[in-house]
């Protein structure tokens, strides 16, 4: 009994060391820009860089569009498949697993070949088209997470019974989705949204191969040219990720619980 607790603590402490030391080291490194003393010069330098603001803003906007498109693609599909077309479920499970199996690099290569400027849908022929393609690529990338979040949300609230109850009360299809289902799975959707945001914000591969001025490629550029700014950017990125995940955690406390759960 006692030795079990000892091993548990030992594993925990070693694990914690592995995860905390790089963060601490990075933070320490980011403060070393000024010789002989700690300063936030690296951060000041990052924030003063106009490319930081512009690339970050670009990634945020693409992230927001990704979230909206992702919700529009996933929510109705999950709802109707759960409700009326359960035979489509294996197909959805398969599709939403694919982005975890096929590397993003491979997918984007496929996009470039398929949707090049001389193809039948020349996404990459224009800037707007490339932005749309980038957004769609991110929706695909985030599909497994968005799908799982929404699917879990719908499972907990038992949409079948809710829909029937709403129909008996005289609601039409649009009212059911808008006024009954959406508010109840809002927390699940938002969890998916923040996860999507965390994935999109620093994404490098797709943005760089589509030549878009996103945050990820900007980071790589800084990494090759500067010494201390990358460390500052790593800390900033970590805080952004933490913020997105923290929001999911906070939201989780407001999630509706199944009637079966008593806690």
């Amino acid at each position: 009994m006692k030795s079990q607790k000892f091993w548990a603590w030992l594993i925990f402490v070693l694990g914690a060391a592995y995860f905390i030391i790089p963060l601490a080291a990075t933070f320490e490194f980011s403060l070393r820009m000024r010789r002989g003393e700690y300063s936030f010069d690296a951060y000041a330098s990052v924030f003063a860089d106009p490319y930081f603001a512009s690339s970050f803003a670009y990634s945020v906007i693409v992230g927001l569009f990704t979230i909206v498109v992702g919700i529009l693609v996933v929510v109705p599909a999950v709802y109707f498949v759960r409700l009326r077309m359960p035979w489509l479920r294996p197909f959805m499970e398969f599709v939403t697993l694919l982005p975890l199996v096929i590397p993003a690099l491979v997918l984007v290569y496929g996009y470039i070949r398929l949707y090049g400027s001389s193809s039948f849908i020349p996404f990459t022929g224009s800037v707007l088209g490339t932005d749309i393609l980038l957004t769609c690529a991110y929706v695909t990338l985030a599909l497994p997470y968005m799908y799982r979040a929404v699917d879990n949300g719908m499972r907990t609230i038992d949409i079948g019974t809710l829909t029937e109850a709403a129909q008996i009360a005289g609601a039409n299809q649009l009212q059911i989705i808008g006024q009954i289902i959406l508010p109840n799975i809002l927390v699940a959707i938002l969890s998916g949204a923040f996860l999507t945001f965390a994935i999109v914000i620093g994404e490098f591969t797709i943005a760089s191969l589509l030549n878009r001025p996103a945050f990820g490629p900007y980071l790589v550029g800084i990494g090759t040219n500067r010494a201390y700014e990358p460390a500052a950017l790593a800390i900033i990125s970590f805080i952004i990720t933490w913020g997105a995940m923290g929001m999911i955690n906070v939201l989780g406390r407001f999630a509706p619980r199944t009637s079966a759960r008593t806690d």
Partner: protein, 307 residues
């Protein structure tokens, strides 16, 4: 649903010819329409690109069928790239799974304070998404030539991990160590529900039947967890195999892994051989799919006892 509806239409058409009753009102098939965007998305951004690459891998510049692109993969450089990618992915997946399993067992079954568990789970959510470029920066600041840990070890123990230890962050072990930063948390997140699913009574039943802790894990606990561990392992493998941003930011094109190779191939597409790029991509799909197929086959054998 669909056959019934079709039958209905056919009948109403024939009846119109005979007696001309009022046509039944056409109902808009909302449910199919709602699923349509998802299906279109899957086709446009998952199926077509994949098929296009598979097709491209067997097509020469003139559009004829060929095995030359596939044959082109069998050069020392490309095979070495695949091999080092497989080794890094395998090592980081196996180590990540083992360490992640140990950490999850420690926080869930090791009688550690309750608060620790939610803290670890939240942190895992963050760390599993803290990949790519910033992660590379963090490890350069930690274990790079001027990294804090490198310097501390040199100052305290008078030991240079680069010169005397033979360590290099831009190598196989360096990259594996870095990948573990997102692999371990991913394991923790995916395996925790499975460990929660191990009922306390199974352990108690085994104990009353004379089993010690080791025997419980040997015969009951681990066999029950095995399919989940295996599933996560294949997920971790694919996760590392497709990763490029971390490696790119860490090593530039120093380390010859297959994603970096393909990345360079895509960038220089106009000059180089697009068929070879497609073949490279196909090879990657085959390897990650293979990891999944192995998982499915082994899991199906291990899961006979599941519903």
């Amino acid at each position: 649903m669909r056959p019934v509806r079709r039958l209905h239409t056919i009948r109403s058409v024939t009846m119109t010819d005979i007696a001309a009753p009022p046509k039944p009102p056409r109902r808009i098939p909302w449910d199919s329409l709602a699923v349509l965007p998802f299906v279109i998305f899957a086709v446009m951004f998952l199926f077509l690109p994949t098929f296009s690459l598979i097709g491209g891998a067997f097509t020469d510049r003139a559009g004829n069928f060929t095995f030359e692109n596939i044959a082109g993969l069998f050069t020392d450089q490309i095979l070495a790239a695949y091999w080092i990618s497989i080794r890094i992915s395998g090592a980081s997946a196996i180590l990540g799974a083992l360490i992640g399993l140990a950490i999850t067992l420690a926080i869930i079954r090791g009688k550690l304070p309750q608060g620790l568990r939610s803290a670890v789970m939240t942190f895992s959510g963050v760390a599993s998404n803290f990949a790519g470029v910033p992660l590379a920066f963090a490890f350069i600041a930690t274990l790079g030539r001027l990294g804090l840990v490198t310097i501390i070890i040199r100052t305290l123990f008078d030991f240079d991990i680069y010169r005397q230890g033979g360590f290099n962050l831009f190598s196989f072990w360096g990259l594996t160590l870095t990948y573990l930063y997102f692999q371990i948390p991913l394991m923790v997140l995916t395996i925790a529900p499975a460990i929660d699913g191990l009922k306390k009574e199974w352990n108690e039943a085994a104990q009353t039947l004379g089993a010690n802790t080791w025997q419980f894990w040997r015969y009951i606990g681990f066999p029950i967890l095995w399919p989940s561990v295996l599933g996560t392992l294949s997920l971790l493998f694919a996760n590392a195999f497709g990763a490029i941003a971390t490696a790119w930011a860490l090593t530039g094109s120093n380390l010859n892994i297959v994603t970096v190779l393909l990345y360079n191939q895509i960038r220089g597409d106009a000059l180089q051989n697009p068929g070879l790029g497609a073949a490279l991509a196909l090879g990657m799909i085959v390897i990650t799919s293979l990891a999944n197929v192995i998982y499915l086959v082994v899991a199906a054998r291990a899961e006979r006892w599941m519903k």
